[in-house]
């Protein structure tokens, strides 16, 4: 038994990746949940909004790299991020003007909005493939590790190593900053309060003189920023591929629903719930168990509950369980 080594292995392969992935999912789910709270529909184009914002950031990053601008040890993409957000925000606002506003005026049913968002998804997906192509793009540069396995071993003298990638550290820090800003905005500023009021009770908000178009516009801006940040962080951590971003839609929706649609706090909790379950269920526990358990109990196989190909199944099953037993989510979001 060697609990310290077991814990290091666990951190290296489960805790750290899951925290990074959870932050990315939480940011994505926040976007979905905000749209749901304010505009009252499930935005199927969210995955592709993330892809679009990331694509804009990647293109600008390449421009910076060509011009020789870099952020030292940090990835250049961080410098490009604000510009990427701006491009994404412009595009999202244009879709709202061109597409969604008409249906808001008509007071269309939510399901019509969902269908319209499908159309937007098609267009965004097509544009992204058209501009940057459907292939894998890597755009991270700068220092690769905050601490690498070898450094860690030399530092602590332990048998197992712990690696923290720069992108993972960055993901968590950025996510914390973004979430703090978002909550400050929603809870303390006038516009944020009017947004919450609008989400709680549309008619009452209108009566008290809140301008709905302004609320909607601010929502889209925030959503564009959240989606771009989430997409860029995910792309830095793994790699950018348009189809993968489309597939992220499922864990993101699952996070938002598990937490309670329309509830920002729930979105964060949901994101981590999904990320941890996904990583823990598809992780091969043999090594950790080998350290943590007495030799007699050591597992013979890989001790992997499900193969990694089924990670979508994990988020899906959690989604089904929540729908069956607590349809409003863990943090009582809106239902119906």
């Amino acid at each position: 038994m060697d609990l310290l080594n077991a814990f290091i292995t666990l951190s290296n392969f489960v805790l750290i990746p899951a925290i990074a992935y959870g932050s990315q999912l939480a940011l994505g789910a926040l976007g979905v949940t905000l749209i749901y709270g304010i505009l009252r529909f499930s935005n199927f184009a969210h995955g592709d909004t993330m892809a679009f914002g990331t694509m804009a950031t990647i293109l600008i990053t390449w421009g910076f790299q060509a011009a020789g601008i870099s952020a030292g040890p940090l990835p250049t993409a961080l410098l490009a991020l604000p510009f990427g957000i701006a491009v994404c925000a412009l595009f999202v606002l244009a879709t709202d003007r061109g597409v969604y506003r008409f249906y808001r005026g008509q007071k269309a049913k939510p399901i019509i909005f969902v269908m319209v968002s499908l159309g937007v998804m098609f267009i965004m997906n097509g544009l992204v493939r058209f501009i940057i192509g459907p292939d894998d793009q890597r755009f991270s540069d700068g220092e690769r590790f905050i601490i690498s396995v070898r450094e860690f071993k030399a530092l602590t003298g332990l048998k197992e190593g712990l690696a923290i990638k720069t992108t993972q550290g960055l993901t968590v820090i950025t996510a914390v900053i973004v979430v703090a800003l978002l909550f400050y905005f929603l809870n303390r500023t006038r516009t944020g309060k009017s947004m919450r009021a609008y989400s709680d009770n549309e008619d009452l908000a209108l009566l008290s003189g809140i301008n709905p178009e302004r609320v909607v516009m601010v929502t889209w801006l925030i959503v564009a920023a959240l989606a771009t940040v989430a997409g860029v962080l995910y792309g830095l951590d793994k790699s950018f591929k348009p189809f993968v971003y489309f597939q992220l839609l499922l864990p993101i929706f699952a996070s938002a629903i598990v937490g309670g649609l329309g509830n920002p706090l729930g979105a964060i909790a949901g994101g981590f719930t999904i990320a941890f379950s996904e990583v823990m269920i598809t992780y091969a526990w043999k090594k950790v168990a080998g350290y943590a358990l007495p030799e007699v109990l050591e597992p013979a196989g890989l001790a992997q509950l499900l193969s990694t190909d089924y990670k979508f199944a994990v988020s899906f099953v959690i989604l089904l369980i929540v729908l069956l037993f607590k349809p409003t989510g863990l943090f009582a979001g809106k239902s119906v």
Partner: protein, 441 residues
């Protein structure tokens, strides 16, 4: 212009498009478009049943189509006796055990009073069941996949006579419908009765999972190694080319035997598919105009009022959701038969789910004839957008210098015009003609 003449004009237009394609490019392409158009029309009928009749938003069509394809493999391929003796029994036992675990957990949930005891009992049953299942399953799968992995490595199907019994593939079509119906029942049972978006998200998930299973469970249908050479109900081209009467007849028509054989085989498929489409269309039409169909539309238009009239909304939704998914499963099995192979890697939601949606919306939701029209029209567009896009790009870039990066990029990207076009078509129809080309009556 009356409705009937308008419909004639629309379908005449489709016929003109297809004949035009035949004259301009090749008849082979034209009849391929017809075949896939027929399959698309069937899928669109299924989705129209769910959306047009009942207002259910299913974005998991791809999964149901893939299940139909799986049925085609399981029914029409010859069994692999060696694999069966190596581990087939263990795999089947494991599946039965897995199912028993879930049923046991549900029974325990219903039998015990609410409280901590129930939760613990359920968890114990599920966890223990899972480990027993994995223990039996993993060894069985390893044994099955070890048998001749290059050519087989799976359990095979149920067809005892292989290629001689090509007709058995037709039986696979309704079986595909049954498989899809089973999956739809599970999804419907959990997600129906909640708010409408939840069904969309749940179906999106099940589709991804079905594809993941098909890709990874090699013992079932060889995963990404694909099952090729499915027995088929139509004769093989090579046999036709070797038959003297066929060659004679082809040369009598002035076509060379190779082209004639491919055309003839595809025509046979077109005939079979037309029969299926007609049957399903007539059934759907009867359903739409029956009291049941009226009740469905009443539920769609006002659930509260329908519920107050004593209609069981959730049960009716489940019913129509299962039916519509079954139709998609039938179409999926037909498509795999036409392809002659099951290739799980090629199932993409944009092609198999969202494209069908565009068909239904463009054709006219709530109208079966509209769904069929949309199926043909959008399929033609989907096939032809790529060459048309390439042509447009060539026109746009004709002024640019050879080797200029933008020119190269635009020409390379022409292939991605499809998604863009479909998105624009969907948005335009939703905005300016939300009831579609042939609106609901």
């Amino acid at each position: 212009m009356t409705d009937t003449t308008r419909n004639f004009v629309y379908f005449g237009f489709i016929a003109a498009l297809i004949i035009g394609t035949g004259l301009m490019t090749s008849w082979n392409l034209a009849i391929t478009i017809v075949n896939f158009g027929l399959i698309s029309a069937i899928m669109a009928l299924g989705v129209n049943l769910q959306w047009g009749f009942a207002g259910l938003f299913n974005v998991g069509i791809m999964g149901f189509v893939a299940l139909g394809g799986l049925a085609a493999v399981l029914v029409s391929m010859p069994p692999e006796p060696e694999a069966w003796s190596a581990g087939g029994l263990r795999v089947v036992t494991a599946l039965v055990l897995g199912a028993a675990t879930i049923v046991g957990a549900i029974l325990a949930y219903n039998a015990l009073p609410k409280g901590r005891l129930r939760t613990i009992v359920m968890l114990v049953i599920l966890v223990a069941g899972f480990f027993i299942y994995r223990a039996v399953f993993d060894s069985g799968v390893a044994a099955v996949e070890a048998v001749n992995p290059a050519n087989a490595g799976y359990l095979g199907g149920l067809n005892p006579h292989g290629k001689e019994w090509g007709w058995i593939t037709i039986i696979a079509w309704p079986v595909g419908g049954l498989l899809a119906a089973g999956a739809a029942w599970i999804i419907g049972k959990t997600a129906l009765g909640l708010r409408s978006d939840y069904l969309a998200i749940a179906t999106l998930g099940i589709a991804e999972i079905i594809i993941a299973i098909l890709k990874n469970e090699d013992w079932l249908a060889r995963g990404v190694k694909n099952v090729v050479g499915l027995p088929r109900p139509a004769p093989y081209e090579i046999e036709l080319q070797n038959s003297a009467t066929f060659v004679e007849r082809a040369s009598g028509l002035g076509i060379d035997p190779v082209t004639a054989s491919t055309l003839w085989v595809k025509t046979i498929y077109a005939g079979l598919f037309t029969v299926v489409l007609l049957i399903l269309f007539i059934l759907a039409q009867r359903a739409l105009n029956s009291p049941w169909g009226r009740m469905m539309r009443a539920i769609r238009d006002n659930e509260v009022a329908a519920e107050a009239m004593g209609k069981d909304v959730t049960a009716r939704h489940l019913q129509i959701f299962v039916l519509g998914s079954a139709i998609c499963g039938i179409a999926g099995a037909m498509m795999t038969t036409l392809d002659g192979q099951l290739t799980p890697g090629t199932y993409q939601p944009l092609r198999f789910t969202f494209l069908i949606w565009v068909m239904v919306i463009v054709g006219g939701s709530g109208n079966n004839l509209g769904a069929v029209l949309g199926g043909f029209l959008i399929w033609w567009l989907w096939v032809m957008v790529e060459p048309i896009g390439l042509w447009v790009m060539q026109v746009i870039t004709s002024g640019m210098a050879e080797g200029f990066w933008l020119r190269e990029h635009l020409l390379d990207s022409a292939a991605h015009m499809r998604l863009l076009t479909m998105g624009v078509v969907l948005l335009l129809v939703l905005r300016f003609s939300p009831r579609g080309l042939i609106p609901e009556r």
